[in-house]
Symmetry: C2
Amino acid sequence: MADTGSNGGAAERVWTAALVIIGDEILSGRTQDANLAYLARWLNIQGIRLREARVVPDEMAAIGEAVTACLAAHDYVFTTGGIGPTHDDITVDAVAAALGLPVVMHPGAEAALRAHYGERITEARLRMARVPEGADLIPNPETGAPGIRIGRLFILAGVPKITQGMLRGLDGKLAGGRPVLSAAVGAWTAESRVADLLANVQKGFDSVQIGSYPFWRDGRTGANFVLRSVDPHALRQAVEQLMGALRADGVEPVEGEI
Amino acid sequence: MADTGSNGGAAERVWTAALVIIGDEILSGRTQDANLAYLARWLNIQGIRLREARVVPDEMAAIGEAVTACLAAHDYVFTTGGIGPTHDDITVDAVAAALGLPVVMHPGAEAALRAHYGERITEARLRMARVPEGADLIPNPETGAPGIRIGRLFILAGVPKITQGMLRGLDGKLAGGRPVLSAAVGAWTAESRVADLLANVQKGFDSVQIGSYPFWRDGRTGANFVLRSVDPHALRQAVEQLMGALRADGVEPVEGEI
Protein backbone atom coordinates (compact mmCIF):
# COMPACT_ATOMS: atom_id res chain seq x y z
CA MET A 1 0.00 0.00 0.00
CA ALA A 2 2.40 2.67 1.17
CA ASP A 3 6.04 3.12 0.29
CA THR A 4 8.70 2.71 2.87
CA GLY A 5 11.37 5.32 3.00
CA SER A 6 14.81 4.98 4.48
CA ASN A 7 16.15 7.55 6.87
CA GLY A 8 19.61 7.11 8.23
CA GLY A 9 19.33 3.35 7.73
CA ALA A 10 16.16 2.81 9.80
CA ALA A 11 13.14 1.87 7.67
CA GLU A 12 10.32 4.28 8.31
CA ARG A 13 6.69 3.96 7.30
CA VAL A 14 5.70 6.67 4.83
CA TRP A 15 1.98 7.47 4.69
CA THR A 16 0.76 8.58 1.31
CA ALA A 17 -2.36 10.19 -0.11
CA ALA A 18 -3.89 11.00 -3.48
CA LEU A 19 -6.32 13.74 -4.46
CA VAL A 20 -9.02 13.32 -7.10
CA ILE A 21 -10.26 16.73 -8.27
CA ILE A 22 -13.70 16.35 -9.84
CA GLY A 23 -15.07 18.98 -12.17
CA ASP A 24 -15.56 20.01 -15.78
CA GLU A 25 -14.89 23.60 -14.67
CA ILE A 26 -11.28 22.76 -13.83
CA LEU A 27 -10.64 20.85 -17.09
CA SER A 28 -12.21 23.62 -19.19
CA GLY A 29 -9.90 26.22 -17.68
CA ARG A 30 -12.81 28.21 -16.22
CA THR A 31 -11.77 27.61 -12.62
CA GLN A 32 -8.28 27.47 -11.16
CA ASP A 33 -8.02 24.68 -8.59
CA ALA A 34 -7.00 25.97 -5.18
CA ASN A 35 -7.46 22.81 -3.14
CA LEU A 36 -4.38 20.82 -4.17
CA ALA A 37 -1.80 23.15 -2.63
CA TYR A 38 -3.86 23.63 0.55
CA LEU A 39 -4.44 19.88 0.98
CA ALA A 40 -0.74 19.17 0.33
CA ARG A 41 0.32 21.47 3.16
CA TRP A 42 -2.44 20.24 5.48
CA LEU A 43 -1.47 16.62 4.82
CA ASN A 44 2.17 17.35 5.53
CA ILE A 45 1.25 18.64 8.98
CA GLN A 46 -0.54 15.31 9.57
CA GLY A 47 2.62 13.44 8.52
CA ILE A 48 1.09 12.28 5.23
CA ARG A 49 2.54 12.93 1.77
CA LEU A 50 0.44 13.88 -1.20
CA ARG A 51 1.93 11.67 -3.90
CA GLU A 52 -0.55 11.94 -6.74
CA ALA A 53 -3.43 14.08 -7.96
CA ARG A 54 -5.85 13.53 -10.80
CA VAL A 55 -8.37 15.89 -12.37
CA VAL A 56 -11.39 14.15 -13.89
CA PRO A 57 -14.61 15.38 -15.56
CA ASP A 58 -18.13 15.11 -14.09
CA GLU A 59 -18.55 11.56 -15.41
CA MET A 60 -19.40 8.44 -13.43
CA ALA A 61 -16.81 6.13 -15.02
CA ALA A 62 -13.94 8.64 -14.92
CA ILE A 63 -14.56 9.42 -11.24
CA GLY A 64 -14.90 5.75 -10.30
CA GLU A 65 -11.75 4.69 -12.13
CA ALA A 66 -9.64 7.44 -10.59
CA VAL A 67 -10.86 6.74 -7.04
CA THR A 68 -10.36 2.99 -7.42
CA ALA A 69 -6.83 3.36 -8.83
CA CYS A 70 -5.83 5.83 -6.12
CA LEU A 71 -7.24 3.67 -3.30
CA ALA A 72 -5.13 0.77 -4.59
CA ALA A 73 -1.94 2.85 -4.53
CA HIS A 74 -2.21 5.08 -1.44
CA ASP A 75 -3.15 5.04 2.23
CA TYR A 76 -5.69 7.84 1.91
CA VAL A 77 -7.70 9.26 -0.96
CA PHE A 78 -9.44 12.64 -0.99
CA THR A 79 -11.93 13.89 -3.54
CA THR A 80 -13.04 17.49 -4.03
CA GLY A 81 -16.12 18.66 -5.91
CA GLY A 82 -19.44 17.32 -7.07
CA ILE A 83 -21.29 16.94 -3.76
CA GLY A 84 -23.83 19.75 -4.12
CA PRO A 85 -27.55 19.58 -4.86
CA THR A 86 -27.57 19.91 -8.66
CA HIS A 87 -27.72 17.38 -11.52
CA ASP A 88 -23.98 17.69 -12.20
CA ASP A 89 -23.11 16.64 -8.63
CA ILE A 90 -22.52 12.93 -9.09
CA THR A 91 -19.55 12.16 -6.84
CA VAL A 92 -21.57 10.13 -4.30
CA ASP A 93 -23.17 8.00 -7.00
CA ALA A 94 -19.86 7.48 -8.83
CA VAL A 95 -17.98 6.48 -5.69
CA ALA A 96 -20.77 4.17 -4.50
CA ALA A 97 -20.88 2.46 -7.91
CA ALA A 98 -17.09 2.07 -7.96
CA LEU A 99 -17.07 0.55 -4.46
CA GLY A 100 -20.12 -1.64 -5.10
CA LEU A 101 -22.14 0.08 -2.36
CA PRO A 102 -25.77 1.19 -2.48
CA VAL A 103 -26.56 4.88 -1.98
CA VAL A 104 -28.68 5.53 1.12
CA MET A 105 -29.98 8.54 3.03
CA HIS A 106 -27.78 9.24 6.05
CA PRO A 107 -30.11 9.99 8.99
CA GLY A 108 -27.66 12.42 10.60
CA ALA A 109 -27.14 14.34 7.36
CA GLU A 110 -30.87 14.43 6.69
CA ALA A 111 -31.53 15.80 10.18
CA ALA A 112 -28.82 18.45 9.73
CA LEU A 113 -30.25 19.54 6.36
CA ARG A 114 -33.83 19.64 7.70
CA ALA A 115 -32.64 21.74 10.64
CA HIS A 116 -30.67 24.05 8.31
CA TYR A 117 -33.42 24.59 5.71
CA GLY A 118 -36.57 24.24 7.84
CA GLU A 119 -39.65 24.70 5.64
CA ARG A 120 -37.42 25.40 2.65
CA ILE A 121 -36.26 21.77 2.49
CA THR A 122 -36.68 20.21 -0.97
CA GLU A 123 -35.89 16.93 -2.67
CA ALA A 124 -32.89 18.60 -4.32
CA ARG A 125 -31.55 19.75 -0.96
CA LEU A 126 -32.09 16.30 0.54
CA ARG A 127 -29.87 14.91 -2.24
CA MET A 128 -27.00 16.22 -0.13
CA ALA A 129 -27.87 13.64 2.58
CA ARG A 130 -27.24 10.74 0.19
CA VAL A 131 -24.11 8.69 1.01
CA PRO A 132 -22.59 5.32 0.10
CA GLU A 133 -23.92 2.85 2.68
CA GLY A 134 -21.85 2.69 5.85
CA ALA A 135 -20.29 6.12 5.40
CA ASP A 136 -19.59 8.59 8.19
CA LEU A 137 -20.11 12.34 7.96
CA ILE A 138 -17.42 15.03 7.96
CA PRO A 139 -18.83 18.18 9.57
CA ASN A 140 -19.16 21.27 7.37
CA PRO A 141 -18.86 24.38 9.54
CA GLU A 142 -19.56 26.72 6.59
CA THR A 143 -22.76 25.50 4.96
CA GLY A 144 -25.31 22.77 5.57
CA ALA A 145 -24.10 19.82 3.49
CA PRO A 146 -21.53 17.56 5.18
CA GLY A 147 -18.53 15.80 3.69
CA ILE A 148 -18.39 12.01 3.67
CA ARG A 149 -15.84 9.51 4.98
CA ILE A 150 -15.77 5.89 3.86
CA GLY A 151 -12.84 4.35 5.69
CA ARG A 152 -9.74 5.87 4.11
CA LEU A 153 -11.66 7.75 1.42
CA PHE A 154 -12.69 11.35 2.13
CA ILE A 155 -15.27 13.07 -0.07
CA LEU A 156 -14.96 16.83 0.32
CA ALA A 157 -16.61 19.90 -1.19
CA GLY A 158 -15.01 21.76 -4.10
CA VAL A 159 -15.44 25.35 -2.88
CA PRO A 160 -12.10 26.04 -1.12
CA LYS A 161 -13.54 27.74 1.97
CA ILE A 162 -15.82 24.74 2.57
CA THR A 163 -13.08 22.21 1.77
CA GLN A 164 -10.81 23.88 4.29
CA GLY A 165 -13.51 23.87 6.97
CA MET A 166 -13.98 20.13 6.48
CA LEU A 167 -10.22 19.52 6.75
CA ARG A 168 -10.08 21.43 10.03
CA GLY A 169 -12.53 18.86 11.42
CA LEU A 170 -10.09 16.09 10.44
CA ASP A 171 -7.06 17.72 12.09
CA GLY A 172 -5.04 15.18 14.05
CA LYS A 173 -7.46 12.34 13.32
CA LEU A 174 -5.49 10.53 10.62
CA ALA A 175 -2.59 8.18 11.28
CA GLY A 176 0.62 9.51 9.78
CA GLY A 177 4.38 9.58 10.12
CA ARG A 178 6.84 12.41 10.47
CA PRO A 179 6.11 15.62 8.58
CA VAL A 180 8.48 16.55 5.77
CA LEU A 181 10.58 19.57 6.73
CA SER A 182 11.77 21.93 4.05
CA ALA A 183 14.43 24.58 3.67
CA ALA A 184 15.41 26.73 0.73
CA VAL A 185 18.55 28.27 -0.66
CA GLY A 186 18.30 31.00 -3.28
CA ALA A 187 20.96 32.38 -5.61
CA TRP A 188 21.25 34.72 -8.57
CA THR A 189 22.68 32.13 -10.89
CA ALA A 190 21.50 29.96 -13.77
CA GLU A 191 20.63 26.51 -12.46
CA SER A 192 22.49 25.08 -15.45
CA ARG A 193 25.69 26.73 -14.17
CA VAL A 194 25.51 24.88 -10.83
CA ALA A 195 23.84 21.65 -11.95
CA ASP A 196 26.89 19.43 -11.31
CA LEU A 197 27.44 20.95 -7.88
CA LEU A 198 23.78 20.36 -6.99
CA ALA A 199 23.92 16.76 -8.16
CA ASN A 200 27.02 16.18 -6.03
CA VAL A 201 25.34 17.54 -2.89
CA GLN A 202 22.27 15.43 -3.65
CA LYS A 203 24.44 12.29 -3.92
CA GLY A 204 25.63 12.77 -0.34
CA PHE A 205 22.12 12.78 1.17
CA ASP A 206 19.80 9.83 0.58
CA SER A 207 17.25 11.22 3.01
CA VAL A 208 17.07 14.71 1.49
CA GLN A 209 15.40 15.57 -1.83
CA ILE A 210 16.78 18.65 -3.55
CA GLY A 211 14.64 20.40 -6.15
CA SER A 212 15.90 23.18 -8.41
CA TYR A 213 13.46 25.90 -9.53
CA PRO A 214 14.80 28.51 -11.96
CA PHE A 215 13.22 31.91 -12.44
CA TRP A 216 13.74 35.04 -14.51
CA ARG A 217 13.01 38.39 -12.84
CA ASP A 218 13.81 41.96 -13.87
CA GLY A 219 16.06 40.63 -16.61
CA ARG A 220 18.11 38.51 -14.19
CA THR A 221 18.40 34.74 -13.91
CA GLY A 222 18.01 33.11 -10.51
CA ALA A 223 17.18 29.79 -8.95
CA ASN A 224 15.70 28.53 -5.71
CA PHE A 225 16.88 25.19 -4.40
CA VAL A 226 14.32 23.54 -2.13
CA LEU A 227 15.51 20.79 0.23
CA ARG A 228 13.05 18.39 1.86
CA SER A 229 13.53 15.72 4.52
CA VAL A 230 11.89 14.21 7.58
CA ASP A 231 15.31 14.37 9.26
CA PRO A 232 16.09 17.85 10.62
CA HIS A 233 19.77 17.05 11.14
CA ALA A 234 20.33 15.80 7.58
CA LEU A 235 18.35 18.74 6.23
CA ARG A 236 20.58 21.23 8.09
CA GLN A 237 23.73 19.48 6.92
CA ALA A 238 22.55 19.48 3.30
CA VAL A 239 21.69 23.21 3.43
CA GLU A 240 25.13 24.04 4.80
CA GLN A 241 26.92 21.81 2.33
CA LEU A 242 24.99 23.34 -0.57
CA MET A 243 25.66 26.91 0.56
CA GLY A 244 29.37 26.10 1.02
CA ALA A 245 29.59 24.52 -2.42
CA LEU A 246 27.88 27.52 -4.04
CA ARG A 247 30.23 29.96 -2.32
CA ALA A 248 33.26 27.89 -3.37
CA ASP A 249 31.96 28.18 -6.94
CA GLY A 250 31.73 31.98 -6.71
CA VAL A 251 27.97 32.18 -6.21
CA GLU A 252 26.63 34.01 -3.15
CA PRO A 253 23.65 32.06 -1.75
CA VAL A 254 20.97 33.25 0.65
CA GLU A 255 19.01 31.00 2.96
CA GLY A 256 15.34 31.08 2.00
CA GLU A 257 13.78 31.64 -1.40
CA ILE A 258 14.50 34.79 -3.36
CA MET B 1 -9.00 6.08 -28.55
CA ALA B 2 -11.21 9.13 -28.55
CA ASP B 3 -14.83 9.44 -27.54
CA THR B 4 -17.48 10.18 -30.05
CA GLY B 5 -20.03 12.78 -29.14
CA SER B 6 -23.46 13.21 -30.61
CA ASN B 7 -24.60 16.56 -31.86
CA GLY B 8 -28.07 16.88 -33.25
CA GLY B 9 -28.01 13.22 -34.22
CA ALA B 10 -24.82 13.29 -36.32
CA ALA B 11 -21.92 11.44 -34.75
CA GLU B 12 -18.93 13.74 -34.43
CA ARG B 13 -15.34 12.86 -33.68
CA VAL B 14 -14.23 14.36 -30.37
CA TRP B 15 -10.48 14.86 -29.97
CA THR B 16 -9.23 14.49 -26.42
CA ALA B 17 -6.04 15.26 -24.53
CA ALA B 18 -4.51 14.62 -21.13
CA LEU B 19 -1.95 16.63 -19.18
CA VAL B 20 0.69 15.07 -16.94
CA ILE B 21 2.09 17.69 -14.55
CA ILE B 22 5.49 16.56 -13.29
CA GLY B 23 6.96 17.99 -10.12
CA ASP B 24 7.46 17.51 -6.39
CA GLU B 25 6.97 21.27 -6.02
CA ILE B 26 3.33 21.00 -7.08
CA LEU B 27 2.57 18.01 -4.82
CA SER B 28 4.24 19.66 -1.82
CA GLY B 29 2.08 22.75 -2.15
CA ARG B 30 5.10 25.01 -2.76
CA THR B 31 4.07 25.91 -6.30
CA GLN B 32 0.60 26.54 -7.67
CA ASP B 33 0.22 24.98 -11.12
CA ALA B 34 -0.69 27.55 -13.74
CA ASN B 35 -0.36 25.42 -16.87
CA LEU B 36 -3.55 23.35 -16.66
CA ALA B 37 -6.00 26.21 -17.15
CA TYR B 38 -3.89 27.79 -19.89
CA LEU B 39 -3.49 24.49 -21.76
CA ALA B 40 -7.22 23.77 -21.41
CA ARG B 41 -8.14 27.04 -23.09
CA TRP B 42 -5.42 26.68 -25.75
CA LEU B 43 -6.58 23.14 -26.54
CA ASN B 44 -10.17 24.26 -26.88
CA ILE B 45 -9.14 26.76 -29.56
CA GLN B 46 -7.52 23.85 -31.42
CA GLY B 47 -10.78 21.87 -31.15
CA ILE B 48 -9.35 19.44 -28.59
CA ARG B 49 -10.79 18.76 -25.15
CA LEU B 50 -8.67 18.37 -22.06
CA ARG B 51 -10.30 15.36 -20.42
CA GLU B 52 -7.84 14.38 -17.73
CA ALA B 53 -4.87 15.72 -15.80
CA ARG B 54 -2.50 13.99 -13.43
CA VAL B 55 0.11 15.40 -11.09
CA VAL B 56 3.03 13.07 -10.39
CA PRO B 57 6.28 13.39 -8.41
CA ASP B 58 9.80 13.54 -9.89
CA GLU B 59 10.04 9.73 -10.05
CA MET B 60 10.75 7.60 -13.12
CA ALA B 61 8.03 5.00 -12.53
CA ALA B 62 5.30 7.48 -11.61
CA ILE B 63 5.99 9.60 -14.71
CA GLY B 64 6.17 6.57 -17.00
CA GLU B 65 2.94 5.03 -15.71
CA ALA B 66 0.99 8.27 -16.03
CA VAL B 67 2.21 8.96 -19.58
CA THR B 68 1.52 5.39 -20.69
CA ALA B 69 -1.99 5.35 -19.22
CA CYS B 70 -2.84 8.73 -20.73
CA LEU B 71 -1.51 7.78 -24.19
CA ALA B 72 -3.78 4.72 -24.11
CA ALA B 73 -6.86 6.81 -23.31
CA HIS B 74 -6.46 10.05 -25.28
CA ASP B 75 -5.48 11.41 -28.70
CA TYR B 76 -2.81 13.73 -27.34
CA VAL B 77 -0.76 13.82 -24.15
CA PHE B 78 1.14 16.82 -22.83
CA THR B 79 3.66 16.85 -20.01
CA THR B 80 4.94 19.91 -18.16
CA GLY B 81 8.04 20.10 -16.00
CA GLY B 82 11.29 18.24 -15.49
CA ILE B 83 13.15 19.11 -18.70
CA GLY B 84 15.81 21.44 -17.29
CA PRO B 85 19.53 20.80 -16.72
CA THR B 86 19.52 19.62 -13.10
CA HIS B 87 19.51 16.17 -11.45
CA ASP B 88 15.77 16.37 -10.67
CA ASP B 89 14.91 16.85 -14.35
CA ILE B 90 14.14 13.28 -15.39
CA THR B 91 11.16 13.60 -17.72
CA VAL B 92 13.10 12.63 -20.88
CA ASP B 93 14.57 9.54 -19.23
CA ALA B 94 11.22 8.52 -17.72
CA VAL B 95 9.32 8.91 -21.00
CA ALA B 96 12.00 7.12 -23.01
CA ALA B 97 12.00 4.20 -20.56
CA ALA B 98 8.21 4.01 -20.63
CA LEU B 99 8.14 3.99 -24.44
CA GLY B 100 11.08 1.57 -24.75
CA LEU B 101 13.21 4.12 -26.61
CA PRO B 102 16.89 4.92 -26.09
CA VAL B 103 17.87 8.46 -25.12
CA VAL B 104 20.04 10.16 -27.74
CA MET B 105 21.50 13.61 -28.33
CA HIS B 106 19.37 15.56 -30.81
CA PRO B 107 21.78 17.30 -33.24
CA GLY B 108 19.45 20.27 -33.73
CA ALA B 109 18.99 20.79 -30.00
CA GLU B 110 22.71 20.43 -29.39
CA ALA B 111 23.47 23.02 -32.07
CA ALA B 112 20.89 25.41 -30.59
CA LEU B 113 22.33 25.02 -27.09
CA ARG B 114 25.92 25.47 -28.31
CA ALA B 115 24.86 28.61 -30.18
CA HIS B 116 22.98 29.92 -27.11
CA TYR B 117 25.72 29.26 -24.53
CA GLY B 118 28.87 29.63 -26.67
CA GLU B 119 31.94 29.04 -24.50
CA ARG B 120 29.72 28.61 -21.45
CA ILE B 121 28.40 25.27 -22.73
CA THR B 122 28.71 22.47 -20.13
CA GLU B 123 27.75 18.81 -19.84
CA ALA B 124 24.80 19.85 -17.65
CA ARG B 125 23.56 22.29 -20.28
CA LEU B 126 23.95 19.68 -23.01
CA ARG B 127 21.64 17.41 -20.98
CA MET B 128 18.85 19.59 -22.38
CA ALA B 129 19.64 18.25 -25.89
CA ARG B 130 18.83 14.67 -24.82
CA VAL B 131 15.62 13.26 -26.35
CA PRO B 132 13.95 9.89 -26.82
CA GLU B 133 15.18 8.54 -30.17
CA GLY B 134 13.13 9.73 -33.14
CA ALA B 135 11.73 12.79 -31.35
CA ASP B 136 11.17 16.18 -32.96
CA LEU B 137 11.88 19.52 -31.29
CA ILE B 138 9.33 22.12 -30.20
CA PRO B 139 10.89 25.59 -30.48
CA ASN B 140 11.36 27.54 -27.24
CA PRO B 141 11.23 31.27 -28.01
CA GLU B 142 12.00 32.22 -24.39
CA THR B 143 15.13 30.30 -23.40
CA GLY B 144 17.54 27.92 -25.08
CA ALA B 145 16.19 24.45 -24.30
CA PRO B 146 13.52 23.16 -26.71
CA GLY B 147 10.42 21.10 -25.99
CA ILE B 148 10.10 17.63 -27.46
CA ARG B 149 7.45 15.97 -29.61
CA ILE B 150 7.19 12.20 -29.99
CA GLY B 151 4.20 11.65 -32.24
CA ARG B 152 1.17 12.58 -30.18
CA LEU B 153 3.14 13.16 -26.97
CA PHE B 154 4.36 16.70 -26.23
CA ILE B 155 7.00 17.29 -23.57
CA LEU B 156 6.88 20.93 -22.46
CA ALA B 157 8.65 23.07 -19.88
CA GLY B 158 7.12 23.71 -16.46
CA VAL B 159 7.72 27.47 -16.19
CA PRO B 160 4.44 28.95 -17.50
CA LYS B 161 5.99 31.65 -19.69
CA ILE B 162 8.13 29.01 -21.44
CA THR B 163 5.27 26.51 -21.67
CA GLN B 164 3.10 29.15 -23.32
CA GLY B 165 5.83 30.06 -25.80
CA MET B 166 6.12 26.39 -26.82
CA LEU B 167 2.34 26.13 -27.26
CA ARG B 168 2.32 29.17 -29.55
CA GLY B 169 4.66 27.23 -31.84
CA LEU B 170 2.08 24.42 -32.01
CA ASP B 171 -0.86 26.72 -32.86
CA GLY B 172 -2.97 25.25 -35.63
CA LYS B 173 -0.70 22.23 -36.12
CA LEU B 174 -2.79 19.59 -34.31
CA ALA B 175 -5.80 17.84 -35.81
CA GLY B 176 -8.95 18.64 -33.87
CA GLY B 177 -12.70 19.03 -34.13
CA ARG B 178 -15.03 21.90 -33.33
CA PRO B 179 -14.17 24.06 -30.31
CA VAL B 180 -16.52 23.93 -27.35
CA LEU B 181 -18.47 27.18 -27.03
CA SER B 182 -19.56 28.36 -23.63
CA ALA B 183 -22.09 30.76 -22.22
CA ALA B 184 -22.99 31.64 -18.66
CA VAL B 185 -26.08 32.67 -16.75
CA GLY B 186 -25.72 34.14 -13.27
CA ALA B 187 -28.33 34.61 -10.56
CA TRP B 188 -28.54 35.64 -6.92
CA THR B 189 -30.12 32.39 -5.79
CA ALA B 190 -29.07 29.24 -3.98
CA GLU B 191 -28.35 26.53 -6.56
CA SER B 192 -30.31 24.14 -4.34
CA ARG B 193 -33.41 26.29 -4.84
CA VAL B 194 -33.29 25.90 -8.64
CA ALA B 195 -31.79 22.42 -8.89
CA ASP B 196 -34.93 20.78 -10.32
CA LEU B 197 -35.38 23.54 -12.86
CA LEU B 198 -31.74 23.17 -13.96
CA ALA B 199 -32.07 19.40 -14.29
CA ASN B 200 -35.17 19.86 -16.44
CA VAL B 201 -33.41 22.25 -18.80
CA GLN B 202 -30.43 19.86 -18.98
CA LYS B 203 -32.76 16.97 -19.93
CA GLY B 204 -33.90 18.89 -23.02
CA PHE B 205 -30.38 19.32 -24.45
CA ASP B 206 -28.23 16.26 -25.07
CA SER B 207 -25.58 18.35 -26.81
CA VAL B 208 -25.23 20.97 -24.04
CA GLN B 209 -23.56 20.38 -20.68
CA ILE B 210 -24.80 22.60 -17.88
CA GLY B 211 -22.61 23.09 -14.81
CA SER B 212 -23.74 24.83 -11.63
CA TYR B 213 -21.20 26.78 -9.56
CA PRO B 214 -22.43 28.29 -6.30
CA PHE B 215 -20.70 31.16 -4.55
CA TRP B 216 -21.09 33.25 -1.44
CA ARG B 217 -20.19 36.94 -1.66
CA ASP B 218 -20.82 39.87 0.69
CA GLY B 219 -23.16 37.68 2.73
CA ARG B 220 -25.28 36.77 -0.29
CA THR B 221 -25.75 33.43 -2.01
CA GLY B 222 -25.42 33.22 -5.79
CA ALA B 223 -24.72 30.75 -8.55
CA ASN B 224 -23.27 30.79 -12.03
CA PHE B 225 -24.59 28.28 -14.53
CA VAL B 226 -22.09 27.53 -17.29
CA LEU B 227 -23.38 25.98 -20.52
CA ARG B 228 -21.02 24.29 -23.00
CA SER B 229 -21.63 22.91 -26.47
CA VAL B 230 -20.04 22.64 -29.90
CA ASP B 231 -23.43 23.60 -31.35
CA PRO B 232 -24.02 27.38 -31.22
CA HIS B 233 -27.74 27.02 -31.98
CA ALA B 234 -28.39 24.51 -29.20
CA LEU B 235 -26.28 26.58 -26.82
CA ARG B 236 -28.36 29.70 -27.54
CA GLN B 237 -31.62 27.80 -27.11
CA ALA B 238 -30.47 26.34 -23.80
CA VAL B 239 -29.41 29.75 -22.47
CA GLU B 240 -32.79 31.24 -23.36
CA GLN B 241 -34.72 28.31 -21.94
CA LEU B 242 -32.76 28.47 -18.68
CA MET B 243 -33.24 32.23 -18.34
CA GLY B 244 -36.96 31.84 -19.03
CA ALA B 245 -37.31 29.06 -16.48
CA LEU B 246 -35.46 31.09 -13.84
CA ARG B 247 -37.69 34.14 -14.45
CA ALA B 248 -40.82 31.97 -14.26
CA ASP B 249 -39.55 30.78 -10.87
CA GLY B 250 -39.13 34.35 -9.59
CA VAL B 251 -35.35 34.54 -10.02
CA GLU B 252 -33.90 37.36 -12.13
CA PRO B 253 -31.01 35.97 -14.22
CA VAL B 254 -28.24 37.87 -15.98
CA GLU B 255 -26.38 36.61 -18.99
CA GLY B 256 -22.71 36.14 -18.13
CA GLU B 257 -21.16 35.24 -14.80
CA ILE B 258 -21.75 37.41 -11.77
